[in-house]
Symmetry: C2
Subunit: 356 residues, 2 copies
């Protein structure tokens, strides 16, 4: 059985790959006094495997949409737990993607000044990326992820069977981060992924190996910098440009696609600035392109796009510490200015991508 | 200038006694980008000394009543801070008693996954006790303090001038905890307090010395056991019996008075069980009695009082780890059963107190 141990400033924890979900639920119910927080859609699709959760002290079915990721919902869930007599030694078991993870992790952190929780991720993104690293983010009004904590689960169980019911767009969300990890690490991690990534849709063994390798890279980074004071910032690769694209398109471009295009744009800017060779840019572009599900990028007004860029929380005056690419395995933080040159770089990229 | 350094698992911090509040506010405003959270009543009474807070990035005036100590209020305050462009490096300056401290500490802990805060306590209780120890507690519906965190301020400024406008009951709240600390520590700490405590109402130097000594004892305990896994539990001395009395009287008995009577009752039970000599019981009783502002304790139904006892979160089945007294400086955790003997002990105490 694949297994990854993560060192944490808060408390060490581990990721365990499982084959039998029913048995795992049975064991959790038997070993602990439990409260389940479950994505309602996962419950509908996996009711048979999950049926024993009904024996827990409480079960909350959660509708995993962005507008529910609020402190108001956390407040309601905590009241529900207290009505169900939650105790300091109980465990909260979270089954869902990153959004349910955020609610579960943050709730566990603040209720009774912290109780332990266990995570069973159900999306590729949460399996291959967000399940480790301890962070949670909760929205406040129109402000996204402005509240949160560092509170890792004690155990994470990866069950690849959940991939069977995953939508294409949800695969893309995971593929963005998986590719990002491989590009940060470079070497074999990248060349293996280049060969194997397309198998993720249909081959369970390949998928588990890809998830495992992706977690190993993230583990290395978060162990070195759990509280995001240095190297962990590299994990924002593709995200500054991606978020701005999500904002510009009013979220018509989903997050994973934003990250893929964001990395491609970051690489293109790197090439234009002689940080990256054309050959290497094209090598990476060939892989990213396979998963970028649009033929053209809907930016008509580059000034407006740069305005969205400038709302990034890392922006100071008219500069941002962008994550650029000096080659596979050579991802670096480089300060760029919101100037004419940047505008030209982006114009040129759009021409290249949309007509190239 | 008196100064106490506190070691913390989270981040070391310090308590500094100041004489000039106006200058301190000026320095904070000058050195940091600040957001003030201020008890509205303190603002009304100390507007002159505090006037410079108007130069901060934001000021929130808070009505420090129990029904406002909720996650809903925290949510509103965070939205207010975000609208006022709060940044990760900004400081939240909290001016108020324990309740405002709870809101400020918890908000600082969760906003942007933690920003630094500074505390200026304005009640005797918060100066001499709650300002150190890192804990915060927030209410959820009818459930008290069920949400919270460990997030110490970076600096605490004690300005004894705030005692000038303190009500008698608010003094009693502090005196309960101050006496508790001295009884836990024993020796000179207790004999000094016995001599000096009554001066606290009128003599500023004596008051500062009493606060300083009280904090030194608490410092020793929370440094050894910040996360309340062992010895810190002694700080509940007087609280189990006191909370039940507050509950029984529907909070007509204020917290500080509850703690004073709770310690006296715990001592009486200790004496009845041959843990404490009658002589030492009476020595402590003589001090406590000076500050217990009622002539009789309004318990008519001891069974009902024991029911309130049994709702304490430390109760397991019909037993509780009570904090009893084997002598001054010898406070111990001792398991007691809710049985006929306890009922008799309490009956006997009421007779002693109410008619003795």
């Amino acid at each position: 059985m694949l297994n990854i141990k993560i060192k944490s400033n808060i408390k060490d924890y581990q990721v365990i790959f499982i084959k039998d979900l029913t048995k795992q639920i049975h064991d959790l119910i038997t070993n602990y006094s439990t409260h389940f927080l479950v994505d309602i859609n996962i419950w509908k699709k996996y009711e048979k495997e999950l049926t024993q959760i009904k024996l827990a002290k409480s079960v909350k079915y959660f509708s995993a949409i962005e507008k529910n990721k609020t402190l108001v919902e956390v407040n309601e869930y905590i009241e529900f737990l207290l009505e169900n007599n939650v105790q300091k030694k109980d465990k909260i078991i979270v089954i869902g993607g990153g959004l349910v993870q955020d609610i579960g992790s943050f709730t566990s952190h603040i209720i009774k000044r912290g109780i332990e929780w266990i995570f069973i991720p159900t999306t590729l993104l949460s399996m291959a990326d967000s399940c480790i690293g301890s962070k949670s983010g909760i929205n406040i009004g129109k402000y996204k992820n402005q509240v949160g904590s560092f509170h890792p689960p004690i155990e994470i169980y990866i069950y690849s069977g959940f991939l069977d019911t995953l939508l294409k767009n949800d695969f893309i969300n995971g593929i963005g981060e998986i590719t990002k990890h491989a590009l940060i690490k470079g070497g074999k991690a990248y060349s293996n992924l280049e060969k194997e990534l397309e198998k993720i849709y249909s081959n369970k063994n390949a998928a588990e190996k890809i998830i495992f390798d992706s977690l190993l890279i993230k583990k290395e980074i978060v162990e070195e910098d759990e509280l995001e004071k240095g190297i962990r910032k590299l994990l924002n690769y593709g995200h500054t440009f991606g978020h701005a694209l999500e904002g510009y398109t009013k979220n018509k471009i989903p997050h994973g696609l934003g990250v893929l295009i964001g990395m491609d744009l970051a690489n293109y800017i790197s090439m234009k600035r002689k940080l990256l060779t054309q050959q290497e840019f094209e090598k990476i572009h060939a892989l990213l392109k396979k998963f970028i599900s649009v033929k053209s990028i809907p930016i008509n007004n580059v000034d407006l796009y740069i305005k969205f860029l400038s709302t990034d929380k890392k922006v100071v005056e008219n500069k941002v510490d962008a994550i650029l690419c000096k080659g596979i395995g050579k991802i670096k933080i480089i300060r760029i200015v919101f100037d004419k040159e940047l505008n030209n770089n982006i114009q040129s990229y759009l021409k290249y991508f949309n007509h190239g």
